[in-house]
């Protein structure tokens, strides 16, 4: 009869063999245990379409749900698995996605930023071509403006994505009562430097601070400076910046950095300790006259009690930038070696339709990426502010993006620029920041 020790040894040996036997099948998971139960199905294998997203809460979550429902109505036979990756303005999704792509285990599609941010994937042969099956068959080149279609296109591959939303960034929101009390007319502010005088007037005439701002993370300050550069100068100057020709616009860069430093005199005193949502809350609480942020801030306004468009808050294009629609675009991408190619093609076809665009954006707060979207739809209502934004989008002379939102440069450059502005948002040193920007594009 075996002793207890021999018995345990035997079990250990059997376990070893069992583990060894399992080891050759280890790469079959989806690389992320966070699959969502949206469809009641956590298995991303086979022909099920796995969709990775970061839109999990409030407006984003609702927008995606609307889109997802629309797709299921259109393609009832396609099974989907929604893989939520919340957190950190998409950093959770990006990290999970990078791991999956490295493992050659891509999802069917994912919703995130298109454009040069995808360059590493494109150069690594990880993106697939949907030019014919999606863009040509659905005729998307006609209604989607060139700037947005270019974000989805790579010379060596073709179209790899379909845009789903465009959020305006060059906004200046204001509290109606405060600016009236201060005797400031936001429509009459012509340049970002003039805004400094307006903020001084607000602070001398009211109890509010000039502008609600977060400087805790670099992207908010970078986004502000990019908008100031565009507004104080012009589209050509701004294009030189995103092309990395910093030395050719040295005076403009230094001047606009100084303007942002001047703004800090009119920030909320805890700007360095609050994130952008807390700064927005201070604006809603009428502690500040102005707020600069992307269109997503409107979602916070809408959720606030007794805080109505036109009555309590309003918005204008950031001074000096009226002719440009500076925005952040999101899209659904198509990976090479797609595990569910047919379903993913169907998803992208649907994403490009007006039905999908208005379902998603009516709730999410952005605007459709097509120039023929029926935003006066009865079922999928767009707010008055969104309708104004959409008109601006249609009438804009130029569309562009920002480095603060990863739409216009390589990830390495974006990271370098972020580093530069993470220092700037504490030291406010114009010389160092200028030098840092020159170096940031040298990769």
């Amino acid at each position: 009869m075996p002793t207890r020790r021999e018995y345990v040894s035997g079990v250990g040996a059997i376990t070893a063999v069992a583990i060894a036997g399992c080891s050759d099948d280890g790469g079959n998971g989806n690389g992320n245990g966070d699959t969502d139960a949206d469809t009641g199905n956590g298995d991303a294998s086979g022909e099920d379409l796995e969709i990775m997203i970061a839109w999990t809460g409030e407006d984003g979550g609702q927008g995606f749900e609307n889109l997802h429902e629309g797709f299921q109505e259109e393609y009832p036979d396609v099974e989907t698995v929604v893989n939520d990756n919340p957190g950190g303005a998409g950093t959770g999704l990006q990290t999970a996605l990078d791991t999956r792509m490295f493992d050659n285990d891509p999802p069917g599609t994912w919703g995130f930023f298109p454009g040069p941010d995808l360059t590493d994937y494109a150069e690594g042969g990880l993106l697939g071509d949907v030019s014919e099956e999606v863009w040509e068959e659905e005729g998307l080149e006609e209604p989607i403006p060139e700037y947005l279609s270019d974000l989805c296109y790579f010379d060596e591959i073709g179209y790899v994505a379909v845009p789903i939303e465009f959020n305006r960034l060059n906004n200046l929101f204001y509290n109606v009562e405060i600016v009236e009390e201060a005797g400031v007319d936001p429509e009459a502010i012509e340049t970002p430097s003039d805004l400094t005088d307006a903020m001084a007037q607000v602070e001398s005439e009211t109890d509010a601070v000039g502008i609600a701002q977060s400087t805790q993370e670099p992207w908010t300050v970078l986004q502000l400076w990019e908008t100031v550069l565009l507004g104080e100068y012009d589209f050509e100057t701004y294009t030189s910046y995103i092309d990395g020709e910093i030395e050719s616009i040295e005076d403009e860069v230094r001047d606009t950095l100084e303007i942002v430093v001047d703004y800090t005199d009119y920030n909320n005193p805890d700007a360095g300790s609050v994130d952008f949502t807390e700064a927005t809350s201070q604006f809603i609480g009428e502690e500040a006259a102005f707020l600069h942020d992307g269109q997503w801030a409107v979602g916070n306004f809408t959720r606030a009690d007794d805080y109505e468009y036109d009555e309590d808050w309003h918005a204008v294009a950031y001074p000096g930038s009226e002719d440009v629609f500076m925005g952040q675009c999101s899209a659904f991408m198509y990976p090479a070696d797609n595990p569910a190619p047919e379903a993913a093609i169907n998803w992208l076809r649907y994403t490009g339709t007006n039905d999908a665009q208005i379902r998603f954006n009516s709730a999410k707060g952005g605007i459709p990426c097509r120039d023929d979207a029926p935003i006066d739809d009865d079922e999928w209502e767009f707010s008055e502010h969104q309708q104004v934004m959409y008109d601006d989008f249609l009438e804009a002379d130029n569309l562009t993006g920002t480095i603060s939102h990863n739409n216009v440069t390589l990830p390495q450059i974006s990271t370098n620029v972020y580093d530069v502005f993470s220092a700037f948002s504490g030291t406010w040193d114009v010389d160092d920041t200028y030098e840092g920007l020159v170096d940031a594009f040298d990769i």
């Binding site: 020790r5 040894s9 250990g12 040996a13 376990t15 070893a16 583990i19 950190g88 950093t91 990006q94 990290t95 990078d98 792509m101 490295f102 360059t119 590493d120 994937y121 150069e123 690594g124 042969g125 990880l126 400087t215 805790q216 993370e217 670099p218 992207w219 909320n268 005193p269 805890d270 700007a271 360095g272 300790s273 609050v274 990830p411 390495q412 974006s414 990271t415 370098n416 972020y418 580093d419 502005f421 993470s422 220092a423 948002s425 504490g426 030291t427």
Partner: protein, 314 residues
Amino acid sequence: MGGSQSYLPTTEDGGVSETLSSLRKNEFVKSIPFLAVPGLLVAVFVYGSIIWNFVLSLTDFRGFGDPDYTSLDLGMYTRMLTDGTFLAAARNTVALTVAFTLLCLVLGLSLAILVDRDIKFEGALRTIYLLPMSISFVVTAIFWGWMFNPSTGVINTFLRGIGLEFLALDWIGNPSTQLIAITIALVWQFTGLAMIIYLAGLRKIPRDQYEAAKMDGASDIIMYLKVVIPQLKTSTFSAIVILLMFSLKAFDFVFVLFGTSPGPGADILPVMMYREAFSANNWAYGSAVAVVLLVGALICIAPYLYYQHNRNLL
């Protein structure tokens, strides 16, 4: 008996049997089924990954192609020497590690001595001091962020209340105070751990020695300095190693408060490693930063390992 065995001399046959028999009885051989599997897993997934990571750091790998292993060099390490971002992150990491560890040790020892003096509610106090340890860095970061708010935070409100207006700073907004703020929050969280380790050490010291010191006329301070604290060497080494490891893992705290780019005032190597690898896709440079962190961790635990080795505990 089989023919093949007839060629073996009887004595050797007996020797092989004895060897096999002694091998069967050998504790190490008996433990192989238990050690082999975890040993193999650790070898592949820990040491294998470390080696692979080091090799990656010798390449120029970035993006999503395949790394080129044909030309390995120390380019990423020489780049560090002139990279202001790396130097700032390294400086902050060292400063945070040293300040955090020392403060935790001093405060932990002080608390342990106080709790060890047969006071009332000792158990409750011990729990209160240890409780912050159970909170995740994420939660700690968020509520310390609120407490450090220069306008509405409890820290500045308190400082203003007691007339120390000049100390009511923009703690996490100003690069020159960011690291101090991080250190304070982490010390708050881990002092309880140091206290528990020291308390365990104090409880192992026989009470007779306290009484003997008293009878020899030693004051409390002398007694602790000359009799008690010298006997806490093992506890101190253990606490140092654990605290150093935690300080190197302060990633969560900094990431939650400042994101992937905390700036020169708060950047630390773990955050930089993440940023280079997962934001910029500079895998080789991220790997090199990881190697530097690993070396730092090894330097941190080397004295402890040497100490344990000298005591025949390794």
